[in-house]
Amino acid sequence: MTSRAAKPAPAPTPETAEYWRAAERGELRLPYCAGCDAYVFYPRGACPTCWSTELTWTTLSGRGRLHSYLISHIAAPGFEQDVPYAIAIVELEEGPRLMSSVRGIAQTPEALVLDMPLVVDFEPRGDVTLPVFRPAPVDARG
């Protein structure tokens, strides 16, 4: 047996650094284009709809829904102890969709129901902090 690999950590670029710094503070933030009234995921220098560079970093609600997912029975390097694990697409309340993990719930088709409400959470990964999601508490469900 070879030694187990660490889970891969993202390496921020200048354009994405604020996303990762915000996650470290416990905030989910994205650039917002006022002209398009749209958030830009992933973060980049200009809005991909209108090419405006007048983007404003904005803190999101952290609420979203489980848009789609799969449950991997094969382990990515570093995920040997996690299989089977869900890889999810979360649709944020503000519109953007992003890949994430769903914590605090069985990684099964029975437990993971499409469109279930989720809230963001954060967990350390190497030198950075990774946004993940959890089922929304019942009293927070709108």
Binding site: P8, A9, P10, T13, L70, I74, F79, P84, R97, L130
Partner: protein, 386 residues
């Protein structure tokens, strides 16, 4: 309106062996297929003045084959790259950049002899926003929209499984197919879970092999002395959407499939109902479902039932993936070349599971995980009333 494409495939070949090939490197698989395709055309090394390839650098393949090309194309979108190469080659030939282009593929995807490693840069968008969540190979990415598609359209697990069953029906008639024993929906649903909702038999093979085609102008194909009937390029299209499947505009449809196929139909002046035979990239069982809808063969939400009812099987109205596909025939990682080669065989009338009277064959290729697409429409004649 675009003009007729004006190119033709005059040589086509696969490597002698497909499957597990431990005694040939990826580079040598390119070369073997190239030599066989040129021989299939009745040409020689000296006739080739253009080269297109993916998977390995075009310079490497050129030097290995002893070529001195005046046209090079190393376009890489993933498995469908060769369909873009064909489109570009026709345009290059039409504009006088070269006369005869060789398009090659070879991969040691199974045995990994001389195969470049797959590395995702942690600073790339995928390295930052997908890889940290345990996504790392096609099974952990490609099917991520399937549950959304199921909820939206009511696709059942049985219908999804029927894609693999339909293709195995074809493969049972193809001696070179890796898996030929007939299977049932129950067999598919009982196979090992790989990435829910995809079971093992809904995921493609992992094989070694290669293939190549030789392309020249339609005029030369008509008048030249080639060994086989020319297969004309009636239309082609290419498109891309995103390098991250998680950022697709809609997880239940591929914008790249729509755009590339729309362009190809427009150039060919044909419609889906004119297509006699269809090859769709099937890295996983849901791809033919997306493609049938995105290319306009059936309405939204109908593809699962269409396949389950047998319309793509032998004797059906739309014979699809007649070599058995990536699910049963072979899948070298960049499978698009094999889509093209089966379409060529069907139009020539020399396929193992030959469909009667194929005058128009369409090839729908994907690049990456719904990242890009290439479409090619081939014909036994260089124009159709449509």
């Amino acid at each position: 309106m675009a003009s007729p494409a004006g190119g033709a495939i005059v040589g086509a070949a696969e490597t002698a062996r497909l499957g597990v090939i431990e005694d040939q490197s990826a580079l040598e698989l390119h070369a073997e297929a190239a030599r066989s395709a040129v021989a299939d055309a009745g040409l020689t090394l000296a006739d080739i003045d253009g080269l297109a390839t993916a998977g390995l650098p075009a310079i490497t393949v050129s030097h290995h084959l002893g070529l001195r090309p005046r046209y090079l194309d190393g376009t890489y979108i993933g498995g469908g790259s060769f369909l873009l190469h064909l489109r570009h080659a026709v345009a290059a030939i039409q504009s006088g950049l070269c006369e005869t282009v060789l398009i090659t593929h070879g991969a040691s995807n199974r045995s990994r002899v001389g195969r470049p490693p797959r590395v995702t840069d942690p600073a790339s968008p995928m390295g930052q926003f997908e890889q940290p969540y345990g996504a790392f190979t096609p099974p952990t990415l490609f099917p991520i929209g399937v549950l959304r598609y199921m909820k939206k359209y009511g696709l059942t697990h049985e219908q999804l499984a029927s894609v693999a069953v339909a293709q195995r029906t074809w493969a049972s008639k193809v001696p070179r197919a890796m898996f030929r024993s007939p299977i049932t929906v129950d067999d598919v649903l009982a196979s090992r879970m790989v990435a829910y909702p995809m079971r093992l038999l809904e995921c493609c093979l992992v094989t070694d092999g290669g293939g190549a085609v030789v392309v020249t102008s339609a005029d030369r194909a008509r008048t030249g002395s080639f060994r086989k009937p020319p297969v004309f390029v009636l239309g082609a299209g290419e498109a891309c959407e995103t390098s991250m499947i998680s950022t697709m505009g809609d997880l239940t449809t591929s914008r790249a499939f729509v755009d590339a196929s729309t362009a190809a139909f427009a150039e060919a002046r044909l419609r889906p109902r004119d297509v006699d035979h269809l090859m769709v990239y099937d890295a996983f069982a849901h791809l033919p479902i997306y493609a049938l809808e995105d290319c306009g063969f059936v309405a939204r939400g109908e593809a699962g039932a269409f396949i389950a009812e047998g319309h793509t099987r032998p004797g059906g109205t739309l014979p699809m993936n007649t070599n058995g596909g990536g699910l049963s025939y072979t899948h070298t990682g960049l499978y698009g070349m094999f889509l093209l080669l089966e379409a060529v065989r069907q139009v020539r009338g020399e396929a193992a599971a030959q469909v009667p009277g194929v005058d128009v064959s369409m090839v729908q290729g994907v690049g990456g995980m719904f990242e890009a697409a290439g479409t090619v429409i081939l014909g036994s004649h260089d124009a159709y009333a449509g």
